[in-house]
Chain length 511, copies 2
């Protein structure tokens, strides 16, 4: 017996060294993010394409469930480039039971994503309160499916699973102003988000550099502010993205950042203040809203009415970050602004002028026909007075301790928070960088990745402490996503997937 | 006049700030890498698909030129996703004149890549010594073509160009051992290399982790050493890659690293020594060749005979790096090796045993039926005695000064060098990292990228000193490559391409 144990230990070391697979180092039918509770059965069952079916019960007309059934049956359940066997087994029906009605809109904040999933040798049963829970359950079920190299068959692990997310907002922010992302590229993000059970697309639509949002009421905004007439999201594009996200259980929260980061709004005459350099020369780089011009608030009001008609989500991100970066140039050195401040009794205190702007903005939001909960970046809490109804979005902090301190401080004043400070996905580096965050020192120097973040946001904290424990499942996740057609970089040092990424040399772009 | 200049300055600042285009900040018909001499004409000419033709003169049967004509006519000359206009202009014939015969094999070391290219309003004329020069000229010509947004027409800039590379070896190393790369993925690299006028694929085929090379004589090597039976390059795959590279003017230099980094050769019984940990227990992690076993040299000889029949390039990379990393484990702690060293009179000096191995390896290379020039990593120069016929490959050095010092030292002893130390393309980071290398402090902390390296290796040093000057052309290059179907990340801070990358959501992998 002792010999056997030794031999296993050696195998394990070898496996690690050579980057090879081995049962406890590479999951088979592992689920990412880790469910709240999962008990695997001891047996697996073979799946063949013509014997598998999905029964949607009394929800056979629900477009969300129909789209789900189609995607999983035709793409995600059997993603590997192998011949699919047919026949040879009993039927395997996935019965989906959802309590609540099929919603006409996207998920609302806090909607249940809870589900029960039982996979036996004869069937699979999904029970969920909402269609969103059913979507999460189906993704989990698809991750219990694996391709067995020996028998050359698809198999599914038997399991009993209870699951629900740790946090209600699990999002990714995309910035379509600094670099325009095509509708298809955004859809690819949404698809892969749903495979990681992420449920919020925070769409930072507009920034200083460009204005790709197409307003019907104010076409001069994108007319002047977009990079080119081709670099815009048409009304149809936006509706298409929201609908595509909804079918995958994802909310789209738009951001229109005010009063800074606004250069690209310059199509609207009089919206921005004149800005000046140290010598008093005009810089022609306006980046702050002109708070003196009362017409600007009427415009913002009309503009946001249109935005709320465009984006159904009950949250509306209104930015508020880095105003101070432009205050000297655009407010302090601007004589008209200084005069206005004196008239209002603000003296030299630009914070009072900021507050003046924000109070008028809160009043606009308050009066919107379609009610919205505003989100602001943390500066509005740090420097100003947030509307009591606001959500505060934390993006600063160099250590976990600093970030926790901020969370404590802001939530103790009864503001809900969204924390982005520790998840800068654009900070990339050489190697298996997703592991680094776990060490937990300086977040701004650490490099998590979206799947790693997705697990921290969904799964129980106590079960997801060590990168070492996570990697066998993450490796399997990566390989599954690669086979699903997504270019996911290796997440470990030397290793391989059963089926590696493949793509023919480029041909001429399609019209 | 002063007002006009000021206004231009302001426009320039604005353009920079907003990431927008502007004539002197974003090239139109710019060439990357920069030619030795280029004089643009003042006029451009419209190109329409049915009026353009390529005349290969007396080389109409040359497969390399036929493949070139097909690729450029059908893909690379007109890559943008726009309707192609026809008619409306006079014929525009590209006449290609090549002096030397069409070669049956890939480029040989030092083969001329020089060309003359003249583009007038009525025609284009390419003159080259070799087909390789013609390939480079055609890529240059394709980069003079641009899509004019105003007229919605393809146009070509008129120009007179004399060009040739600064260095004869301009390569990229791929490692298909630590992560297996599919044949298609390698072909995509080759395609994009040719668009950057790179001419060497250094194929690091085999390493400790896996052995994807399929030997006919010794199938046990990949049989045991490949990750799986799917993770191999068949004989046909290798021939396919070499042929694909040849058509694009690229040599393929294979590397078989000896005597270290050899774990994956373990399919060959007796090839590796036993290795031991501090306690004298066998580690089962052999990574060094057994130099005592005379049969191993017969095997290496037979194996390399096959390699030279497989890879036509006259260079053969035989590694030699990081032997010292395993010497204690696999030689010093190995009693049989110690005994052998005593017998040979090496005492405790493992360097003498290394030399013994290398001398026998040189003798094998010397006797190869197909003559090959060996390349060794720098340790063979630093620690041992390289064969006088060797090329030394520099990969160490923390500063430019250190690297230059090594180049001086090694070349002063009459060894040609390949320098990789300052071009670690796998060191990536956030942002426009290709610029950093220009600052020229610590190469291992800097982050160049392949296109940046390609220009440094091709273009005159004195004309390519500043990243600031390079970026307008690099930006145009990136946008062209994106339109050609390659996912090139933005190389600047906020910016845009006329046509952004687009790709539909993934569908099921093809069989």
């Amino acid at each position: 017996m002792r010999l056997l144990i030794l031999s296993l230990l050696f195998t394990s070391t070898l496996a690690w060294f050579y980057g090879r697979d081995e049962p406890d180092r590479w999951s088979v039918g592992g689920v990412w993010p880790l469910p709240q509770k999962i008990i695997y059965g001891s047996k697996n069952r073979t799946l063949t394409y013509d014997k598998i079916g999905i029964d949607l019960g009394d929800k056979k007309d629900c477009d969300i469930l129909l789209s789900m059934a189609d995607s999983y049956m035709n793409k995600w359940l059997f993603p590997f480039p192998v011949e699919m066997k047919t026949g040879g087994t009993e039927d395997f029906i996935i019965t989906v039971t959802v309590k609540e009605e099929c919603p006409g809109g996207p998920p609302v904040h806090g909607a249940s994503e809870e589900y029960l999933l039982r996979v036996s040798l004869s069937e699979a049963v999904i029970n969920a309160q909402t269609v969103w829970g059913a979507l999460r359950a189906m993704e989990t079920l698809s991750q219990l499916v694996f391709y067995d190299q020996k028998s050359q068959e698809y198999q599914i692990r038997t399991a009993e699973i209870f699951d629900k997310p740790r946090f209600p907002v699990r999002g990714i922010m995309i910035d379509s102003s600094r670099h325009f992302l095509s509708v298809n590229v955004i859809k690819r993000q949404l698809e892969i988000m749903s495979m990681n059970k992420l449920n919020v697309l925070h769409w930072h639509l507009v920034d200083s550099e460009s204005f790709p949002y197409t307003s019907v009421k104010f076409p001069e905004l994108h007319g002047v502010g977009a990079y080119t007439a081709r670099h815009v999201y048409s009304r149809e594009d936006i509706a298409d993205i929201i609908a595509f996200a909804r079918l995958r259980g994802i909310r789209v929260i738009p951001e229109f950042d005010l009063p800074g980061h606004t250069s690209s709004w310059r199509g609207r005459k009089g919206f921005l203040t004149e800005c000046f350099d140290e010598k008093g020369e005009e810089t022609f780089l306006p980046n702050l809203v002109d708070p003196m011009n009362e017409a600007n608030f009427d415009f913002i009001s009309e503009f946001l009415e249109e935005v709320t008609e465009t984006f159904p989500d009950q949250f509306l991100h209104l930015g508020g970050d880095e105003v101070s970066d432009y205050i000297v140039e655009c407010w302090v050195r601007n004589k008209k602004i200084r005069k206005f401040m004196e008239e209002k009794g603000f003296g030299n205190d630009t914070v009072l002028l900021e507050n003046y702007f924000f109070e008028k903005l809160y009043a606009i939001v308050e009066k919107l026909k379609l009610k919205r909960k505003p989100i602001f970046w943390q500066e509005v809490f740090d420097n100003n007075i947030p509307d009591p109804n606001s959500v505060i979005h934390i993006w600063k902090g160099n250590t976990h301790e600093e970030i926790y301190e901020q969370v404590k401080n802001i939530t103790s004043q009864n503001f809900p928070v969204i924390v982005s400070a520790c998840w800068y996905l654009n900070y990339i580096k050489y190697g298996a960088d997703w592991r680094d965050e776990i060490k937990g020192t300086a977040p701004s120097n650490s490099r998590p990745r979206a799947s790693a973040a997705a697990e921290r946001l969904w799964s129980p904290a106590e079960k997801t402490q060590r990168a070492e424990d996570a990697w066998p499942r993450m490796h399997e996740l990566r390989c599954r996503l690669v086979s699903r057609g997504y270019r996911i970089q290796p997440n470990n040092n030397p290793d391989y997937c059963p089926f590696e990424f493949d793509e023919p040399p480029a041909t001429k772009s399609e019209l």
